[in-house]
Symmetry: D3
């Protein structure tokens, strides 16, 4: 059975990694879908699709995941409406189950006729992308403990945490 | 004379129905335009274009409206900029008048050279889509009294009020 | 049961009208879908979505069709890829069957999980939109016998056959 | 050397004008890029791209700028993501430097490999588009002192300040 | 009075230049609209919008045109449907007349309610973009005599005629 | 060094496979980019992006390629204009070289500042997607020898060769 795991991964953190490991144990194949691929350089979506793709690939290597069991690609849609599920159906091998911690994603997945599944919670208060971006914004180094080592290394290399602080000074919205 | 009646109809309520009846008395033809057709499953736009199309058709039947005097279709644009008026011109039979309770729609309609008209107010404090969505969100059954019976029946059938409560738990925005 | 009848209707002709009458006898509701709604003023797509909507409505009146059994709306997609079916699902009430004389539409409909149906042939060599446009282009009045009277009247009113001859002189393609 | 000066110019004010004069002294050519060209009739983006184009052209005339040193055009993108820079590269003659008072624009410009420059500050507390729109909204005539005379004249002619007050009454957002 | 002069300008040639001079004598302002701005690197549309913008500006300088009387900008639409006229209305200062040697453009302009005008013919058999591209393709230097000197210089600088020969070898279409 | 290998892969054949093996020997990482991801069910683009993704993954497994050295994803753009290179830059990890047998892709790659490389020819007369689609269309089983075994198996499973014959009967274009 194939499971779809959609997320924005802004950034990819240890909660995502644990979810993927749990899914790899239960399903034949895990399709990791990077949503809102067209967004970047904002406080809500700081990283480009390409940067998030690197974060995830490097983490999969770090955790020694078999790449043949993982399919990974970005889409340009956000998850805020129902269309994304159609885009994925065009872009992806068929899948049976959609898994997500997000109620909107669940509702849409069920209405589109998919099975859904629930990843056991890995301390969502701690491993939480919104919280991580907030720590980056406040220049609090604690965010480094919440992401895979390779994600930490990559974000520091590209100056990603500084980018969040920079773009936040902008008065565009 | 043909009048255009644009709205999001999230959901279609008794105030809309009264407006349409008033317009049918005054004009030869009423073009009901469902805006933001691409949006759904959000607190601001819970229902798909197709669902809103059903709500309106069922209400027109309930109120015994002559379908030959009504033209009804959705567009993918929202009313927040000036482009929608051009899309409608492509999609719709020509019309002479635009009617709406919304100042932005009025401003754009006038600048595009259309006549405008004003529907007498049908108790906007009560028959108000924002208020109806709020009641649904709070699981207050009073919303049922504010919509045509067929809309109530349809929303309950598809679990529409529950959907609002579900998607609101989402942290996407 | 609801049936979807997709077409470009460039223009709407007597073959289309016969198909709709046949479908109305067999199904509860017929959803007439105007495709390539964004195209117009070309030899292949001379009429705007709005103009085609008028042609169809006037023909339905001419043939005394019960408007409550018909749902009619345009989409901006063409039928040359698979996406249009998703757009329709967003815009339309649910349907069970897709009917079309076009093999591509059939293939896509079946792959998307829909039932398909076949309208008995109404002399396709004669009632054929490509042929009608060719007659218009050659200024051969015979095209008038191939469309409902109200379509003929409407096209003459808007100078539609002349438009085809005009835009064909263009060297854009 | 060519410099790109991107802005929304909602509206074009004396701070923009001073920046352009400073840039014309330092660079061979100034490319003025009107962003968010598709937006209009909102409190944040009240004026259409065409209206902003007129404001800027009339101001350049008022300040006797050599039109041969200025290239001016709108794009449909906003500056909130990274894509706009690619659109500009398609639409514009090549440029070497990007200048902007906006940190997000800076970050993106640098990451795309461009030189950046900083216009000395011309009293940003006073000459500030957000402040000007606020004054218009409050019907405070003081906004007239913050824009070139030709901008003031043009906005009054088209009823632009009244438009802001009108569209703000709308409950769309 | 303001006149709109739409074209693809692939490339800008002496016939275009003569037309602009004729228009500048007759009208207060000439709005030169570069269409199909999103296209480039094909045999039909070899040059980017930015490159065409340079060609036109350099030619205007060569022919000593008063830049204050000219408004020049690209749009992303082609002229093959009716939508481009709405995009221009958003992007451009208002205009009264549309001038073009293309029947499709005429038809659309008239239907949209604009006046139209006709530039006296400047030997269209000779000064003709399709012919110029064909000469480039066949590496026949005669094309150089059909364009302003500054266009010739620019195209040679960027290797534009070679580009046409290169991309034509491609089997994409 | 990272190399980008763009193609439509309609279908993925032994020439593509040989190219990838050659590239994997020479470069650290090969980014396989599926273009025209939005197209399907036409004679020129019979397979969806998801189907092509499966073909490529199964072939990589068949030829025992190390998945960690390969990045694979679809984009919605075709290669017929210059924009696709910007989309890839957003979606992909950075790359240094672009390799393709297509002159248009080369021209664009060079102009965008990338290194280019040439895969030694693997009998392009034989291993050629256009030829393979033609064989499928003529129901000539020889196409099976030109693709990896897993591609053959997959296409037969989904009835892909029959689909080509079906959709070709369509009169849309």
């Amino acid at each position: 059975m194939r499971v779809l795991f959609p997320g924005r991964f802004q950034p990819f953190h240890l909660g995502h990694m644990a979810a993927i490991q749990w899914l790899l144990n239960k399903y034949d194949k895990v399709i990791i879908l990077i949503g809102s691929g067209q967004e970047s350089h904002s406080i809500y979506n700081p990283f480009t699709a390409g940067e998030r793709l690197i974060m995830i690939r490097e983490s999969l290597k770090e955790y020694d995941v078999d790449f043949r069991k993982v399919i990974l690609f970005p889409i340009m849609e956000s998850f805020t409406n129902k269309n994304w599920i159609r885009i994925v159906e065009m872009y992806s091998p068929p899948f049976d189950v959609i898994v997500s911690g997000n109620p909107l994603v669940y509702t849409v997945a069920k209405e589109a006729g998919y099975l859904t599944d629930q990843v056991p919670i890995f301390n969502r208060e701690i491993y939480n992308a919104t919280r991580i971006r907030k720590l980056m914004l406040e220049n609090d180094p604690k965010w480094g403990e919440l992401v895979p080592k390779s994600v930490y290394k990559f974000i520091k290399e590209i100056g990603g945490d500084e980018r969040i602080r920079e773009v936040t000074k902008s008065d565009y919205c």
